[in-house]
Symmetry: C2
DNA sequence: TCAGACCCTGACCGATCGGTCAGATGGAAG
DNA sequence: CTTCCATCTGACCGATCGGTCAGGGTCTGA
């Protein structure tokens, strides 16, 4: 047998992506992946140190872009940071919605794995930026709802053109997020009155 | 041993709730629950047909209220349905955020289990109502983001008073959702122009 | 021709899981 | 005392999981 083409690595990656998208990460065993590729489970583990490493390689591009966004955000403050976070995150979610869909709701859970430990800190900073670094509940909650909801929505709308999805999401974010500058020197706003 | 008090059933339920909230449903084994209660795994399975039944009983109150909301929504259309869906869903999420937190991100995944099959249809109808039964991508996407994001946010803000959380979420929803009546006879709106 | 790197495999491992079952215990009813 | 039933348990089961390992085939380069 052996030595068909040394593309087994990529074939495994592709098979894993396909299966993860249908049955989820946890719901897909190494055996399943091996069967899909047409090789043995041991072969899968020859090309990847373990199951988590497989997932990590699958998510690497998305994570790299997320890290870029985080870098761009450091130093920015106020409405500028807010705007950059919004546009950057929406773009990220839309571009990598395939990868997001892979995780099928295991999203939050998976990020707790040691391999993705730093992601949590990044998303923490992203959330703060999107909230305009405000500590008002409304702003913090809004940021959290968007940050959790947008990836979920992206995973659901896989058959819509990128541009349509992006512009719809930006419309939503623009409506939902109140620019932080309008309340920077904290004068009473309409929000503060009716609480 | 045996026959301490016949409250074992409730003790198991409470222990399961505690553990699910920390380690999640999948991450908690029947063994773990038994250990927490101080009984054998077999005892847990004496009181509950299986692990899923335990979860179902834990979620029963929340599901009942969700079903009520669904009933109230049937027959309503347009902005009335939209408003009712928004208020009802936010209230539901806030009241049962403890139960939601139990699932720790397994939310979407768990609802695929056969015991919760009908929940999917309900949430489908809820989404449609929240979108004002519009088929514009912006509206459908907004509804989805909110429906996915709100529970997630509620699970995170466990230490905030109910009323504060509720009013913050309602403010967000009111901002994010465009009342469907303003575009019913579909005249060009500002949204349509800039896309 | 031979050595060694590379690729692949079947057999196997220990752990864990949800779930079953026959039987022990003990209080209540007759 | 005997019967009955609810409660509880240890031992056990089959399945599945991620992961290891020794070894076999094949290509390459000296």
């Amino acid at each position: 047998m052996a030595r068909a083409v040394p593309e087994t690595h990529d074939e495994i990656l592709a098979a894993a992506a396909r299966l993860f998208a249908v049955t989820g990460y946890r719901g897909t065993s190494l055996q399943d992946i091996a069967r899909e590729v047409g090789c043995s489970k041991a072969t899968v583990l020859y090309h990847f140190a373990n199951k988590e490493a497989l997932l990590a390689e699958l998510m690497a591009p998305a994570i790299a872009v997320l890290k870029d966004l985080d870098d761009q955000l450091t130093g920015l403050t106020g409405a500028v940071a807010q705007q950059a976070a919004a546009v950057g995150f929406v773009d990220l979610a839309v571009r990598f919605r395939g990868e997001i869909a892979l995780l099928r709701g295991e999203f939050t859970e998976l990020l707790c794995q040691p391999a993705f430990a730093h992601i949590q800190q990044i998303s923490e900073r992203l959330r703060a930026a999107l909230a305009g670094h405000s500590d008002r509940p409304v702003d913090r909650i809004t940021a959290l709802v968007l940050l959790a909801g947008i990836p979920e929505a992206c995973a659901d709308f896989v058959d819509i053109p990128d541009d349509d999805l992006r512009s719809a999401l930006l419309t939503l974010v623009r409506r939902a997020v109140e620019p932080v500058d309008t309340l920077m020197p904290h004068p009473p706003t309409t929000e503060d009155k009716d609480s």
